[in-house]
Structures are given as C-alpha cells and as structure tokens.
C-alpha cells in the first residue's frame, strides 16, 4: 500500500487514554470516536488533519489499556498510517486487527519533523521524507499483515477465509 500525507509529530508514551479518552467510551461508533481522536495529546488534532495524513510518534505508542477503540478512532479520523519508534504490544495487535497500517522506525520517528510531507510504501518498507529528501528503509509490512489491512481487519479476513473453506 502507498500513502502520501503530512506528518504530525508526537512524543513518547502516547497512551490509549490520550488517543481516545475513556470519557467517550460509552459508544463504540467509529464516527463518534473519531471526533475525539488524540484529543488529550493534541486538542486541535481532528481540526488540523487531512485525509491520508500520518502520525509520527516516539516510543511505546498506544500503551495502557487494551481498548480497540484507539486504532479505530485513528483509522476513522482518516489517518493513513502511524510511524513510531515502538508500539505497545496490544496496540500493535489491535492496529492490524482493525486494519490500521503501522510502521516501526527509530530513525524516521526521530528525524521526521511536524508538517513534513511523507510518502510511504508499506510493501517495500520505504518512508520517503519529501520535505528533507531523506529515505528510510524499514521492515515492510509482511504479505499476510498487508492482506489483513487490505480486507479491513481480522474479522473480515477470517470471514472471507471461512467462506472460502465452505466453498471448497
């Protein structure tokens, strides 16, 4: 998958409460969740991002609770991809399961600045910073995970797979 968008930069340990505060969890409607995406990390987030933009963050992105509402909110806010130095492990799982592409790169996470224009190829594992001209090569999203994202997450993936088996 290829994405192009503006980078919005955050620090270390952005927890799931910052991504989607618990006070909004009385609904699991993605549209409602998206309205409050990243609210406690950056109140202006939803207003400033455009479709396809990219979150760039430091270490341990998505730490805290196991709530799946976090990647859902980011995805529904039309963020195309999250790049971080590292992800907390349950967030990492939940991201792929809910079809949010994510890439790990310490170098890119450190060097990319707020508002840089990025171009990403998740299959090749390439992040190109169009603003600085620097290219980063990262571990690509493997084929299976790519498929997971392409079909819209784990539930869809497994549904298709089961249908296929029944058809045989």
């Amino acid at each position: 998958m290829k994405f192009k968008g503006t980078a919005w930069k955050y620090g270390d340990d952005i927890d799931t409460d910052a991504i989607i505060p618990a006070r909004y969890l009385n609904t699991s409607d993605p549209k409602e969740l998206a309205k409050h995406c990243m609210e406690d990390a950056d109140v202006n987030f939803v207003r400033k991002v455009n479709k396809g933009d990219i979150i760039v963050a430091g270490k341990n992105f998505g730490c805290g609770s196991s709530r799946e509402h976090a990647p859902i909110a980011i995805k529904e806010a039309e963020i195309s991809c999250v790049i971080a130095d590292s992800f907390a492990r349950i967030f990492y799982r939940n991201a792929f399961n809910t079809a949010l592409p994510i890439l790990e790169s310490s170098e890119a996470a450190k060097e990319i600045s707020d508002a840089d224009e990025l171009e990403i190829d998740t299959e090749q594992g390439i992040i190109e910073n169009l603003t600085t001209g620097k290219t980063y090569s990262v571990r690509p999203i493997p084929k299976f995970m790519g498929e997971l994202i392409a079909v819209g997450g784990l539930v869809n993936y497994v549904r298709e797979k089961i249908k296929g088996q029944k058809g045989k």
Partner: protein
C-alpha cells in the same frame, strides 16, 4: 545461532524450523481463553465473522470469574452470554459458579495448559502459564473471537530477556518478591514487547506455584510473556493433571538475548510496591509507618494453596488488628477445599478474617472488598494503579502473602518478624 524456548515453541506452532525476533507468523493455538468481561465482545465478533462452530470445543475455555458470583444485573447478563454460547457450542470447559476459580489459577490446576503450548487469552495475565514452559499471552477481544473460529492467531516473534537468579532466598522471600524486585529494577516498560525468561539456581529450586506468581506479573513489566523451562518440578505438577500429551522445549545454550540480568537473592528482601505502579518497590525494612484499612490475600497472583499456607502460618493464633479488614479469597474451589481440609480456613476465621468463595472480586475493584476514598490496602494482587481496588482516592500496596497477613495483624505494613 540457537533459539530460545519462546522461539522454539512459536516455530513449532507455525510449522517452521526456525523463527527470529521480529518475524510475523500465523500460529496454531492450543487454548483460547475468555472471561466474563472480554468473552461477550469476542462472542459478538465470532458471530460477525459468520463462524458456525468453534475450532475445537475442548480448547475454548470460558471462565466467569471477575464479577461472579454475579454482583449485579449487568454482570449477570454478561455471564448469560457466556453460558448460552457455551451451551450452543457445547463448550467442554465452561466453568460455572461452584466449579469455577480465578482463570489463571484454574487452568493449570485443571490440567488444561501443558508445557510447549501456545495459549492466548483475552486477559492480560494470561502470561501466567509460562510457568509451565508454555508460550502464553494476553490479546484483545477481536483476537479471541477470531481465534475461537479458526484455532490460530498471528504473532510477532518477541526478543527475549534472560533473568538469572542466584543464591538462597532470604526469610519470607517468595516468587512474588523476586518478580516485584525485577519490575522495580527494570520498570513497567522494561520488558516491553519481549519474552521474559527466568532461570538460574534459585529458580531451579522454586516451587511451581511461585513460578506462576512470577510469570503472572511479566505483563507488569510490559512483557509479552514470561517463561520458565519445564523441569522435574514442573513435570511432577503437570503429570498429575495433564489432559493432553505435551512437549518440553528448552533454550539453546547459544540462543540470542536482547539483554541479560543477574540478580543475587541475598540482596532481595520481601518487597512492597507503593502506589501507583508495580515498579514502585521498596524493601520491607524501608517501608516506614504505613497504616492500613484492609488486607487482601487472593487473586491469580497469590491465591493458591501455598500462599494460603504462608499467610496462615503467620496469622495462626493471632487476631486481625482493630479497624482492619482481612479478606482471604482462595483462587479456586479445589484450593478452597484443600485449605478447609488443612484447617487454614479455621485459622483465618479465628483471626476474624472474612473468607470468600473464589472470585477476582476486589483485585480489579469489582466487588467483595472495595475501598472508600482515603482508604489504604495491602494486597497480594498484581496491580496498584489509581483506583484499582475502588475509589480513585484509595491506595493499594502490593506484597507477598506473609507480609499481607502480618500487616493485617499489625495494622500497618510490616514483616512477620515484628509480631
């Protein structure tokens, strides 16, 4: 280069000869676990997938343990979802009240988890089963829903950190103290995403229950799993219970570790984790005067029979201090019965403790011993986050069972040596 025990188990479950840290794999799972909080969502996802049958009715385990015996109408509805699903799917291992126990104490006891397994559970303390030489880890509800349908799940192979413990344990020091000490040293994200492998001469002599306590808290250091090799101590425990054949794996001598820590147990006193992080540890001699309102002995960390024995040994013939509540919760029915047989329940009740049927209860601030604002508890549980046992203005301190028992008698956090 050789492989670690974690890498070997994962390789065997995805049909490869070798896996390396960072690889993403599809692995067969041996057990998929859910509880009364997480399984209802997983069941919803399972149905939305369009799956008709669970992958194996013997290998989906459902345990209503958090808000049970049902504390209110909502929790009763949650459990109903599990019960109906279990009936519909003819799930063998659905544990109704009366057979039930806290999930992570129950599964090993029932012989449902064995060495070499890959186990996922929609509960973060699923890492407990690493004590038996299995790979086990917590996941989200969607993961569980999908795994119940397919019998497989995806993993990123973790790097491993080796923790070597040497020397003899000091008096009153248990597995709980070793793991609290470790978390105190490396921090709550010290093992982020990694496998925590425990070994060394001290571990070789440690009981299986103490190992379960340690593996249980791997998540409190950010770990993906905690793991021990299965040795004679493990196999003696497993052989008496196992419902399935199993395979024992061991790390190669030339396996690669991201880090290696060595701890000399002569430096380790009983530990107390102060609010509000499990890493906020002090040695018992450095605690100072911390008065308490409640002491809780139980949970998937320390509600096993050896824990109750340790607490009873301390409290025998004594009384809980005036103004302090001591709540003792055997983690499973079997433990409850054994404690009764050994006269431990008499000891607790004579000391004026409340003894409860198995439940998670106060551990997650569910019921059965919630704290008011300004109250302070010492507990043998695993988390002391803000509001974990009740009011956001209450405080939880974590310790081993002997310290929790002694503190109940003293009315402040202290050691059995002070009695």
């Amino acid at each position: 280069m050789g492989m670690t025990i974690t890498e070997k188990i994962l390789a065997a479950h995805c049909g490869q000869d070798k896996v390396s840290p960072g690889d993403l794999i599809m692995a067969k799972i041996d057990i998929a676990l859910g509880n009364d909080i997480t399984a209802p969502i997983a069941i919803k996802e399972f149905k939305s997938i369009g799956a008709a049958k669970v992958f194996d009715k013997e290998r989906v385990v459902l345990v209503p343990d958090h808000f049970t015996p049902n504390k209110d109408i909502q929790s009763a509805e949650q459990v109903c979802t599990l019960r109906n699903f279990s009936r519909e799917q003819d799930i063998t291992n659905y544990f109704e009240i009366g057979r039930m126990g806290v999930e992570h104490a129950l599964l090993p006891e029932q012989g449902l988890v064995v060495p070499g397994d890959v186990i996922i559970g929609a509960d973060s303390h699923t890492c407990t089963y690493g004590a038996l030489g299995a790979f086990s880890t917590g996941v989200g509800s969607t993961d569980l829903g999908a795994a119940m349908a397919t019998g497989e799940t995806w993993f990123k192979v973790p790097e491993s950190i080796k923790f070597i413990f040497t020397g003899k344990l000091n008096k009153w020091v248990t597995g709980k103290d070793l793991i609290l000490y470790t978390i105190g040293k490396i921090g709550v994200d010290g093992a982020l995403y990694k496998a925590m492998e425990f070994c060394g001469e001290t571990i070789d002599n440690l009981s299986i229950e103490a190992r379960m306590t340690m593996a249980n808290m791997a998540i409190e250091a950010g770990g993906k799993n905690g793991i021990f090799k299965a040795d004679d101590i493990t196999l003696e425990y497993v052989n008496a219970r196992a419902k399935r054949p199993y395979k024992v794996y061991e790390s190669d001598p030339d396996a690669h570790y991201a880090q290696v820590y060595e701890f000399d147990c002569k430096d380790i006193e009983p530990q107390v984790a102060f609010p509000h992080l499990p890493s906020n540890c002090r040695s018992i001699s450095d605690v100072g005067n911390v008065t308490i309102d409640q002491s809780v002995i139980g949970s998937c960390t320390n509600g096993r029979i050896s824990d109750l024995r340790e607490a009873a040994e301390v409290i025998k013939g004594r009384k809980v201090a005036k103004g302090v509540r001591l709540i003792v919760i055997p983690a499973t029915q079997e433990i409850y019965k054994q404690a009764m047989k050994e006269g431990l329940l008499d000891i607790f009740i004579d000391a004026e403790a409340a003894v409860s049927t198995p439940t998670c209860g106060p551990c997650l601030g569910g019921h059965m011993g919630i704290l008011a604002a300004g109250e302070r508890a010492i507990a043998t549980t695993n988390r002391n986050f803000v509001g974990r046992m009740g009011s956001p203005k209450s405080e939880v301190y974590l310790s081993n069972p002997a310290i929790a028992a002694a503190s109940a008698v003293l009315g402040r956090i202290g050691s059995p040596d002070e009695l």
